[in-house]
């Protein structure tokens, strides 16, 4: 444990591989899994086999294996070092931050520098995003033909479930993980997050979760889709345990991430950084973090109940034994609806943060935008039963849920109004990040309008559970989240990575993605209206032409992502053309720092005397603040 205090350069070569790092983490993770597996097998009574539909399936040993495996992984990474050192009486330090130096190896170990964690996040989540994307390509390959099958029905449903879980679970942190961790300290003028170890913890937990979800393929997959409804989950093969482990860890990670960001934003703002001067992206982080903090515990509790149903033979979700299948649906969506706004809200912040830069104007209607974000955040807790409009639950409350759901379009409308006001009479530049923001405007508009149909009970009766709703949430999540994610990557990427991206490839990426995205998901509205339910492995033959169109378009999305990958690898690994410190002439604080941003961000803490959007005639060309780190 004392190795951590020793600077990296003085270590013998073998210690670099077998210190507390990713490699040790993986080894101890595997050891932990085996220990848990053995304990599980020891306590598994043969009588429990009565309930198992799968021979040789032992949910207890698998779940304990995951639990111990994760603990082993975290110990291997060095998360136990600090608590143990403190217990032994050592003084508090931030050794992981201070002593790692600036070598590349710190990306493969526990590092508490918020900039390093952000890069770890973006690469790590990127890998799993790729997995989810490949799942989508495989799903669309299966749907090329109604009756000739690439996959078996079980494999197909596992792919659908993995795609959904990966995208809805892992991607909750795809903007807050990399960009909030990287930007919030720089935007509010501090050197680190409030809890740097927890910051690193959330990332490594997310990676463990992703690996666990993939291991589902060794246990027969799961047939429940990403919603994991009970009582179907009770009969699912052991692969469902991977779903439980995955989503529960995501829940813990999400909850801690939101808590850490809120604590940082509330307590660590630099002098002069009042609430009304907070960059709008930081406000969107506040709104999202509140949701994460409050919604994620519900998910963890729900999955715990699910795990107990499968292992200890409780009956929380078993109708007829005193439980209720409704209970799972309710609990899941009490988490699940805030969750879709966890996914959407950071996008609002990015769009409103970028539009002023590329319109050369202050953000229009700052207070309205803040109200919009907090309003969405608040209202999202009161709409969940619109997922259950035809389930027969609380049917008399449907007018209320119809109203509350449609009310969300008011704060969302504020975001649109602020975007519209910001570009009015601006001097608009069509840079790549700007194009992605405008793509968001179009996609989210379609997503929002189609949401009105789903929120309206008579219309929802036909569209519910069909490809229509699938198209709707892909417009809001892929068209919303993923487009703003790319906007953020192209906008802040030069600062984060210190390299310039190839402009031509970036533009090809945008246009191919935008066109292929719409060409993929717009026909899905029609397919839903024509009667195609979600998650089917086969469909009526007359729907084949439309499905083929969608599949081919989806493959073009895949190609477009390949362009992005080539662009990133080319610019980051081979070309390495150094980026301008402020290529966008932005006036917010993070762009006033040198590229790459120094290890300790600021030499002297900045003092703010205005909001980060001082564009316009008042003070032409003046920087937002005198940034200490630039000296």
């Amino acid at each position: 444990m004392s190795a951590i205090a020793m600077p990296a350069s003085q270590r013998p070569a073998w210690r670099r591989f077998f210190g507390f790092n990713l490699l040790t983490g993986i080894v101890l993770g595997l050891v932990g899994y085996l220990i848990g597996d053995l304990i599980g097998k020891a306590i598994h009574a043969p009588s429990l086999d009565y309930y198992s539909t799968q021979a040789g399936q032992n949910d207890i040993s698998i779940l304990l294996g995951y639990l111990f495996g994760v603990i082993g992984f975290l110990i291997g990474l060095g998360f136990a070092n600090y608590p143990v050192r403190r217990l032994l009486g050592h003084p508090p330090t931030l050794a992981e931050h201070e002593d790692e130096g600036e070598g590349w190896t710190r990306y493969f170990r526990l590092c508490t520098d918020h900039k390093v964690v952000a890069i770890q996040y973006i690469i790590g989540i990127g890998v799993f995003f790729l997995v989810g994307g490949i799942n989508a390509m495989l799903i669309r390959s299966e749907l090329l033909q109604p009756n000739t099958h690439v996959f078996g029905a079980n494999q197909y449903l596992t792919l659908v479930g993995m795609h959904g879980a990966m995208m809805m679970g892992m991607m909750t942190s795809v903007i807050l993980g990399p960009f909030a961790n990287w930007l919030v300290p720089l935007m509010i003028g501090t050197r680190r997050m409030a809890f740097p170890r927890i910051e690193a913890f959330t990332f490594w937990l997310l990676m463990a979760a992703g690996v666990i979800l993939i291991t589902t393929i060794f246990f027969g997959g799961f047939q429940t889709g990403w919603t994991g409804y009970a009582p179907l989950s009770d009969q699912s093969t052991a692969g469902y345990d991977a779903y439980i482990g995955f989503f529960a860890l995501i829940g813990v990670s999400m909850c801690l991430l939101g808590f850490n960001l809120l604590a940082t934003i509330i307590t660590m703002r630099a002098p002069g950084m009042t609430w009304s001067r907070l960059p709008i992206f930081v406000w969107s982080v506040v709104a999202t973090s509140i949701l994460m903090l409050l919604a994620a515990p519900m998910l963890i509790a729900t999955l715990l109940m699910g795990a107990l149903d499968r292992t200890a033979q409780t009956a929380f979700f078993v109708s007829g034994n005193g439980g209720s299948a409704y209970l799972y649906q309710n609990l899941f969506w009490v988490f699940g609806h805030p969750e879709v706004y966890i996914v959407a809200l950071p996008g609002f912040g990015i769009v409103l943060e970028l539009l002023p830069v590329f319109s050369r104007k202050p953000l229009w209607g700052y207070r309205l935008a803040v109200a919009g974000m907090l309003g969405v955040s608040l209202l999202s807790f009161f709409v969940w039963q619109h997922h259950l409009f035809v389930s027969g639950i609380n049917a008399d409350l449907r007018p209320f849920y119809m109203l509350s759901t449609e009310l969300i379009s008011l704060p969302t409308g504020f975001i649109f109004l602020c975007a519209m006001g910001t570009i009015w009479r601006g001097r608009i530049r069509f840079t790549v990040p700007m194009l992605f923001c405008l793509g968001w405007v179009f996609n989210f508009l379609i997503g929002g309008i189609s949401g009105v149909f789903l929120s309206d009970v008579p219309s929802d009766v036909t569209t519910h559970g069909s490809f229509f709703s699938m198209a709707h949430f892909h417009y809001t999540i892929m068209g919303g989240l993923v487009f703003t994610l790319f906007a953020a990557i192209y906008y802040w990427g030069p600062k984060m990575f210190g390299v310039r991206f190839n402009d031509r490839l970036s533009k090809i990426h945008f246009w191919s993605l935008f066109i292929a995205f719409n060409s993929t998901f717009a026909p899905l509205f029609a397919l839903g209206m024509l009667g195609m339910p979600r998650r089917v492995v086969t469909y009526p033959a007359n729907l084949q032409p439309l499905n083929d169109w969608v599949s081919v378009s989806a493959f073009v999305i895949g190609l477009s992502m390949l362009v992005f990958l080539v662009n990133v690898v080319w610019s980051l690994v081979f070309k390495r053309e150094p980026a301008d410190p402020n290529p966008w002439r932005s006036k917010s604080l993070e762009w006033q720092l040198p590229t790459p941003v120094p290890l300790h961000d600021f030499d002297t803490f900045p003092v703010f005397d205005e909001d980060p959007y001082p564009y316009g005639a008042e003070r032409p060309g003046a920087p937002a603040v005198a940034a200490g780190g630039a000296s």
Binding site: S319, V390, T462, Y539
Partner: protein, 280 residues
Amino acid sequence: MPTDNVNHLRRLALIWLLVSVVATPLVVFVLAPGLPPGNGSVQASGQVVDNGVLLGVSTPVALAVLVYFVYALIAFRERDPSSVLDGPPVRGHSGVQTTWLVVTTAIVLFLAAYGSIRMLEDGAGGGQGPNPIAKPAGAAGALQVQVIGQQWKFTYRYPSFGGVETNDLELPANRVVALHVTSLDVIHSFWAYQLGVKADANPGVDNIAYVTTKGPLTINIHCAELCGVWHGYMYATGRVVPQNQFAAWIHQQQLQYAPVRKLLPPYSTTYFPDPQRRGG
């Protein structure tokens, strides 16, 4: 500058008005009436009308945003790439903000009220749980039909015909039908497409959906909630037939299934088959 603003706004309003005046009637009167689920039942027709109203409201709204963006992006684009000038430092306009708030609130309240009225009028074909409040006219004399979801098919019981359980769904034309949807194992969702009916089948729940049939019709039935491996294959065809034909059919079914009828559990709103643990 202010007169310039007014000119821009006037032009914008004019373009939006022109586009909306052309597009909205086209959408509402040409596109919407032909949209699914069609006119197979009173509830399905109600959904078509409802969709028409929603489209009628949302088309001008969507066009307003689209027209605005297209106009602004063209009119306010930076023509000189080397320019370092900024736009005017306008940080908001309380009049515009208030107007926007009032207009969007009015639209939302109208939509929620309209949707509720529409739903309460005839139930809109959705599942309403065991104690429905939204009943169509003539619900008191409705034909009771139980829909039993199970992995992986729907079966039907007709309590007013001796509780006979059939493999196929047949309904009499021009009749109010109360569909009691329940499940024996996991959650299914009964989707009778042409009738505009969708109701989840939950184990232990009597989920009632009303439908008022019109003329004879073939119905595509599909399960709309993931219910296990063969969910994709859980589809069937049902029929709406004239009254006398229905009478003949149900009589024939009673005869055909008479031997099985003795083995069935008595008709009940819900069933709990053994084993109660892992269903199916």
